[in-house]
């Protein structure tokens, strides 16, 4: 197996666009939540009332012109713009210019769960008079198909950058970002590509998405935005829907060294599992998540004591945070009690497929800074969630290796290990 490193990152998030702003706000623990009446990305929320759901995490500051979206995509769907912005950031961050890589050995894997739902719902509402009338083709948007066909996003990226390796969407719901990055990792490790752009994008803040998750009690009904996403806390009552994109440049080690690329971290292994128990619940005791964690350790020849820190999935749903805690205890044993664990979703909310990719960007920043961002809104810990979740304030932390996890509908779990790349090994 060839060694694979992360040589560039890009991020669009509710607390910052660009890695520096994003990381500083994560450290400060500034919640990205806004009240439903302050959502600016879709007018549909002015036309419908959700009983209970108050908080959303919106990338309100996003501006395609300012945030590196190519001119041809200034009127494109929000999700495509997010992906472009994060990708351009990552390409620049990795110091990739067109002379330093072979387009035939460069590919893209992107995760998204929902794609261009915003446009699809807005057009549906318009041409059916809010669902009252049959569909008609009343000058319906020519972009309808590209919004419905998720691979239109990586195809646009591939065409723009001239990537001629594989180009695909990994549609694995809420593990999508981690899954797309692990897919790219393995493809490079096995010699299929030398360079891949991988990550995820999601712009799911649309009434149908809210309804779909709220009807099964997944969303928080906490009345005060800023306090709704509270992973591992007593009384947590669901996740906060969010949006954004996280992209990384993954590169074969020798390829990165040859072009003197900045190397953030190395990926030594991952695993994905399914629990086959229920479409929208987790398996009892989080045992299949534990199996993914154990698998990722086996893949990367590490043992529990080698894991110094965990960036958890930590959604703030009653079930996830409890089962995830159990899974960490069963896979890491006593060691789980000795290491810090945080949840980025306490700050960023849950942007479905994008969240695990954005979190990987956060993990990389954390490894660089040797500092952990806090899990916010954790004033009253759930007694059944009894690990060290880095509550409320960030902390310095010297470490070399971390574990990041994700779980999602369709019974999916993913775990990846990321470690610092030893510069001394070069000498």
């Amino acid at each position: 197996m060839r060694r694979v490193v992360i040589s560039g990152v890009g991020v669009v998030s509710p607390v910052g666009i660009g890695k520096e702003e994003f990381w500083q706000n994560l450290l400060k623990g500034i919640s990205g939540e806004v009240a439903v009446e302050n959502i600016t990305s879709s007018y549909l929320f002015k036309k419908i009332h959700f009983e209970g759901v108050r908080a959303f995490c919106e990338a309100s500051d996003f501006d395609p012109v300012q945030h590196y979206v190519p001119v041809a995509y200034h009127n494109a769907d929000r999700i495509t713009q997010f992906a472009f912005s994060a990708t351009e950031q990552a390409m620049r961050d990795a110091l990739l210019d067109s002379s330093s890589w072979d387009p035939e050995r460069a590919g893209i894997s992107l995760g998204t769960a929902i794609g261009g739902i915003k446009l699809l719902e807005e057009e549906f509402v318009r041409v059916t008079n809010q669902g009252q009338e049959p569909l008609r083709d009343d000058n319906i948007s020519a972009a309808l198909y590209s919004a419905a066909m998720h691979n239109s996003i990586p195809l646009a990226l591939s065409a723009h950058y001239g990537f001629q390796g594989e180009c695909t969407i990994l549609s694995t719901g809420c593990i999508g970002g981690l899954d797309a990055i692990s897919y790219a990792y393995e493809s490079i490790a096995c010699g299929e590509h030398d360079l891949m752009l991988a990550g995820a994008a999601e712009a799911p803040i649309a009434p149908i998405t809210v309804a779909a998750f709220d009807i099964i009690n997944c969303l928080s009904h906490f009345p005060e935005p800023g306090g709704a996403s509270r992973p591992f806390s007593l009384g947590r009552d669901g996740f906060v829907l969010s949006e954004g994109s996280g992209m990384v440049v993954l590169e074969e080690l020798e390829h990165a060294l040859a072009r003197n690329a900045p190397i953030y971290a190395e990926v030594p292994g991952y695993d994905v599992t399914e629990h086959a128990m229920h479409l929208t619940d987790m398996s009892p005791e989080g045992r299949d998540l534990a199996r993914a964690i154990t698998g990722a350790m086996a893949y990367s020849c590490t043992k529990p004591a080698d894991i110094h820190f965990v960036n958890a999935h930590g959604t703030s749903t009653p079930q996830n945070d409890y089962f995830e805690t159990l899974a960490l205890k069963s896979s890491l044993g006593e060691h789980a009690f000795m290491i810090p664990i945080n949840s980025s979703k306490s700050i960023l909310g849950h942007s479905l497929a994008a969240s695990s990719a954005i979190e990987i960007v956060g993990c990389v920043m954390s490894l660089q800074a040797q500092r952990l961002h806090p899990t916010i809104n954790l004033l009253n810990p759930d007694p059944e969630c009894d690990l060290d979740y880095v509550p409320q304030t960030n902390r310095p932390f010297a470490f070399q290796r971390l574990l990041t996890t994700a779980s999602g509908f369709s019974g999916l779990h993913a775990a990846m290990i990321i470690e610092s790349y030893g510069r001394e090994a070069q000498a």
Binding site: E51, E104, G107, A113, I114, L120, F124, V125, T128, Q130, G131, Q132, P134, L135, R136, D137, I140, S141, L144, Y145, S146, M149, H150, N151, S152, L155, A156, S158, A159, Y161, G162, Q164, G165, E166, C167, T168, L170, S171, T172, G173, D179, C190, P207, A211, A212, I215, I216, C218, V272, T273, E274, A276, M277, H278, L279, T280, F409, S410, G411, L412
Partner: protein
């Protein structure tokens, strides 16, 4: 090098349920394209498609499950059931032989190709949401709508607990799913992989998506079942169909050890992307040809050993032309002598399941030594100068390999070499 074999396949096509039904109809030159029925089509200009009618999900799965999931998941679950049964991996009660065993299913994986997800279900709930309100939305929507739903339902139905991934790469989706299944076996990440594609886009909104894609034949507005004409001079786009095809893949030594009957060998595979335009495929066909060349190299065969090519055959004139060009590049001097066919003209383009249906036909073609025809190919378009198998079936007794191609929007290319068992 690890050899990968196919030990089971399950098919749902516009003709009905089962591989033999598909095969008989395609060989007979029977079209499955007809007027769309059963849903509102007043807003559409193209009202024909490869629609599966007279289909009862409850003949195969419980009515309770059928109500909770979208048609594309239903197709996926049933096609998987048939594939697992043929592979001898099901008990009499339709559970998989590993279900209930300790660590059962941990080394079994699933990869799915799909394009649009469950829009029949999602559209109904969109209407409920806006006409009635948020509390009138089905609690099953999140598990029915997303493209990963089929994968999840198949995993749940058969206790599949290993790697699970859903690929969206337009008309190449199911090819990428198959490629990754083969890779997962080669890399030792799984012992048994179920791989295929499923698509059920014949509902009011999803049909409008396709109409807006610019890929549908304009002739289809006339209602003619002969509208889908790959490589023909009157080609002007495709006609959409629905269905699913799934395959059981194993390493050859594992399949032999358990005494499984082998349908075919997956001898080579590769994927590339044009990286040229977000919508149009590159006119030079160079990257498409590279996928075929790499697939043949992996299979250690020369172009002369390719008995037949199942083309992507979108019937979009630019794509037919560049596909022909790509075949010339990949096959070189042999190109004029290799039969090329696009049987999907008879039953429609299944997008996320398109390549899987072609793979099934290729396996049957190798078994019987018969190349299925491309319907509606009366006269080749200028620049389309290969040996297309048009109108009627052609015998090919000594055929040992088929090349099965896929190509989606913007030139997402994949190619697979299937070797006769």
């Amino acid at each position: 090098m690890t050899r990968i074999v196919i030990t089971g396949m399950g098919i749902i096509s516009p003709y009905g349920v089962g591989a033999e039904l598909l095969w008989e109809n395609v060989l007979a030159g029977q079209t499955a394209l007809k007027d769309l029925t059963g849903f509102e089509t007043g807003h559409l200009n193209r009202r024909i498609g490869g629609q599966l009618t007279n289909f009862q999900a409850r003949d195969y799965i419980s009515p309770r499950l059928a109500r909770k999931i979208d048609r594309f998941s239903t197709f996926g679950v049933i096609a998987s059931l048939l594939a697992l049964r043929q592979a001898g991996l099901l008990r009499e009660n339709n559970t998989a032989i590993w279900q209930g065993e300790e660590n059962g299913g941990h080394r079994v994986g699933i990869t799915v190709g799909n394009n649009l997800g469950g829009w029949e279900f999602a559209e109904r709930e969109l209407r409920n949401l806006w006409a009635l309100g948020p509390r009138d939305v089905s609690p099953y929507i999140a598990a029915a709508w997303f493209p990963a739903a089929a994968q999840g339902n198949i995993s749940l139905s058969f206790g599949i607990k290993g790697v699970g991934r859903t690929f969206i790469s337009e008309r190449a989706s199911s090819a990428l799913a198959l490629l990754h299944a083969a890779d997962a076996l080669t890399r030792g990440r799984a012992d048994i992989m179920l791989a295929g594609g499923t698509e059920a886009p014949l509902s009011p909104y999803a049909c409008l998506f396709y109409e807006k894609s610019g890929q549908l034949s304009r002739q289809a507005a006339s209602g003619s079942p002969a509208s889908y004409r790959p490589f023909d001079k009157d080609a002007d786009g495709l006609v959409v169909g629905e269905g699913a095809a799934f395959f059981v893949l194993e390493r050859a030594e594992d399949a032999q050890a358990r005494g499984a009957s082998i349908l075919a060998e997956l001898a080579g595979w590769a994927s590339t992307n044009d990286g040229f335009d977000p919508v149009r495929a590159a006119p030079d066909g160079r990257r498409y040809a590279a996928a075929m060349t790499r697939a043949m190299e992996r299979a250690s065969i020369t172009p002369a050993e390719v008995g037949c090519i199942f083309a992507a055959g979108s019937a979009l004139p630019d794509e037919d032309f560049s596909e022909t060009r790509a075949l010339h590049l990949a096959l070189g001097e042999t190109a004029p002598h290799v039969p090329v066919t696009a049987p999907k003209a008879a039953f429609g383009n299944l997008f996320g399941a398109a390549h899987s249906l072609d793979l099934a036909l290729a396996i049957l073609a190798l078994r019987d030594g018969l190349i299925p025809p491309t319907l509606n190919l009366d006269e080749s378009a200028p620049g389309c100068d290969l040996d297309y198998v048009s109108q009627t079936v052609r015998p090919a007794k000594k055929m040992s390999h088929c090349l099965v191609n896929a190509r989606g929007l913007g030139g997402s290319n994949a190619s697979v070499v299937v070797r006769k068992a």
